[in-house]
């Protein structure tokens, strides 16, 4: 009984002491504590994906790890002039031009599709690009991985059967398929690198010794020169080197990304005439050493077709 009476005031005074102690070191530490509390809250919040590994969905000729956002339509015009070693009579290639006009669309943030039509070989192509892994800022996932699957149908009859032979040029002979993995890492704000193991299947090839399946390893990269300008490069090496279509060479492209508001301009120099994967990676015939270099550019203009969630009542507007 007595003990309880002693205990009561003791506990109260202890509690009071505790409060008092808090009171005395309040002004500074209290705010520090609050800040720490808040910081621990924000730091625990999920993992942030690394963004802007490349400026746009293409490095130069080929695909980059970037996808379009959900509901975004990208209108792309790719232009390749003739070879600069054609001299003044062809105005260093500028008299000739080969283009690809295409539309890409983001179905979800991880899946995009695209179609296009190229001058070179009168090629119609379609592709699907899907994200599999995404690099995170805290490096719990150090790499991004995507898959590109594409199909292309050329209208030009490359090796038509002799007239009157009665041999039919089948539709299937026009078709080629592409499987590609993109493995990318943004090493720093200024440096991103990407590996692109690629498989191309040609349904029909010109020579008996030509392989129907061509394999290649691509290496691409970006070095940011400023917030709006970046240097890009892309090289595709056919492996093994002799398992290639007759007369073809590896493709090397060097370019600049220049970004202005809603546009991204890509200026580039390449020994490839074509613009689709199967022509660039498997059917490039020009050589840098011989001056078979094409000047070219890509223009991309994006349109938000489907408003993202939460923007139904936003005040976003373009006059």
């Amino acid at each position: 009984m007595q003990l309880k009476f002693i205990l009561f005031p003791l506990v109260f005074s202890l509690a009071g002491l505790h409060l008092h102690a808090q009171e005395t070191n309040k002004p500074k530490d209290e705010t520090e504590d609050l800040m720490k509390m808040l910081e621990s809250e924000t730091d625990n919040k999920g993992t942030a994906y690394t963004t802007a590994t490349f400026k746009t969905t293409r490095i130069a000729n080929g695909h980059s790890i970037e996808n379009l956002g959900k509901g975004v339509l990208d209108f792309r015009i790719n232009h390749r002039f003739g070879r600069i070693n054609q001299g003044f009579s062809e105005f260093f290639g500028l008299d000739n031009a080969s283009t690809r006009i295409g539309f890409d669309y983001g179905i979800t943030d991880w899946l995009m599709v695209g179609i296009g039509r190229s001058t070179y070989l009168k090629d119609a192509d379609g592709f699907v690009k899907a994200r599999i892994l995404r690099q995170t800022d805290n490096d719990r996932m150090p790499l991004s991985l995507s898959y590109v699957g594409a199909m292309s149908i050329q209208a030009t009859e490359l090796y038509p059967p002799p007239a009157g032979s009665g041999i039919e040029y089948k539709f299937s002979q026009r078709v080629a398929y592409i499987n590609q993995l993109l493995i990318a890492r943004k090493f720093a704000n200024w440096l991103s690198l990407q590996l692109m193991p690629t498989h191309i299947h040609y349904n029909f090839v010109q020579f008996r010794d030509d392989p129907n399946d061509v394999f290649a390893i691509g290496l691409g990269g970006r070095i940011k020169l400023s917030n709006r300008i970046a240097l890009t490069g892309e090289y595709y090496m056919v492996v093994p080197p002799n398992d290639r279509l007759t007369g073809t060479r590896n493709s090397l492209t060097l370019g600049f990304d220049i970004e202005t508001g809603g546009h991204v301009f890509q200026l580039l120099f390449s020994n490839s005439t074509g613009i689709t994967e199967r022509t660039v990676i498997g059917q490039t015939t020009g050589g840098w050493d011989k001056g078979d270099i094409h000047f070219g550019f890509n223009i991309s203009r994006v349109f938000t077709v489907v408003k993202p969630k939460g923007f139904e009542s936003s005040r976003n507007k373009i006059w």
């Binding site: 924000t42 959900k70 983001g106 938000t304």
Partner: protein, 181 residues
């Protein structure tokens, strides 16, 4: 046994009172709006951490920059890459004090308050103060406030091509519900 129980109860009560004065959230809402004759831009952030000390009036927000959502994905990228440089400056912070003299946190209602403090973003700290309201409802408090910032004050460079599309008076809106934790 009885005594230990009593002790535990008192200790628990003391601890409870210690925490009761801090209202928190990690899903606070902050948005901004830039209006120009060319284009209106609004972006929303629902991942803001905030805390209000109902006793001292200390008010703090941490705003993760990458969590601002734009209607245009490309604009969001440019916002992070070119303007806010969110890899370098991932968070904006507000550290302030609200004058809570007229606020009764035990009685539901809308109270006008004034707050003053410092806003740090893009590595630059500036004084930001102004009026706001605190809406008390069932022990939770919703902080509402509006103020304007000029990007150039915070060292954010806007190139000539974009200057007609980005206002120099960007309206920031805070609408954040803080709860007992």
């Amino acid at each position: 046994m009885k005594k230990i129980l009593l002790l535990a109860a008192i200790a628990g009560l003391a601890a409870y009172q210690g925490n009761a004065q801090k209202l928190m959230t990690r899903t606070g809402k902050v948005s901004f709006f830039s209006a120009t004759p060319v284009e209106n831009i609004e972006a929303f952030n629902n991942e803001v951490a905030g805390v209000l000390d109902t006793k001292s009036g200390d008010l703090m927000f941490i705003v993760p920059i990458k969590s601002f959502k734009f209607e245009k994905a490309l604009m969001q990228e440019h916002f992070n890459e070119n303007y806010m440089e969110s890899d370098k400056f991932p968070k904006a912070e507000y550290k302030g004090k609200a004058d809570l003299a007229g606020v009764n946190f035990t009685k539901d209602g809308s109270y006008k308050v004034k707050a003053s403090g410092k806003l740090t973003m893009h590595g630059v700290t500036k004084d930001v103060s102004g009026p706001g309201t605190i809406v008390v409802k069932a022990g939770s408090a919703t902080v509402n406030a509006k103020f304007t910032v000029n990007p150039t004050d915070y060292g954010i460079k806007i190139p000539a091509v974009a200057s007609s599309k980005i206002s120099d008076k960007i309206e920031v809106t805070i609408d954040t519900n803080l709860k007992n934790k």
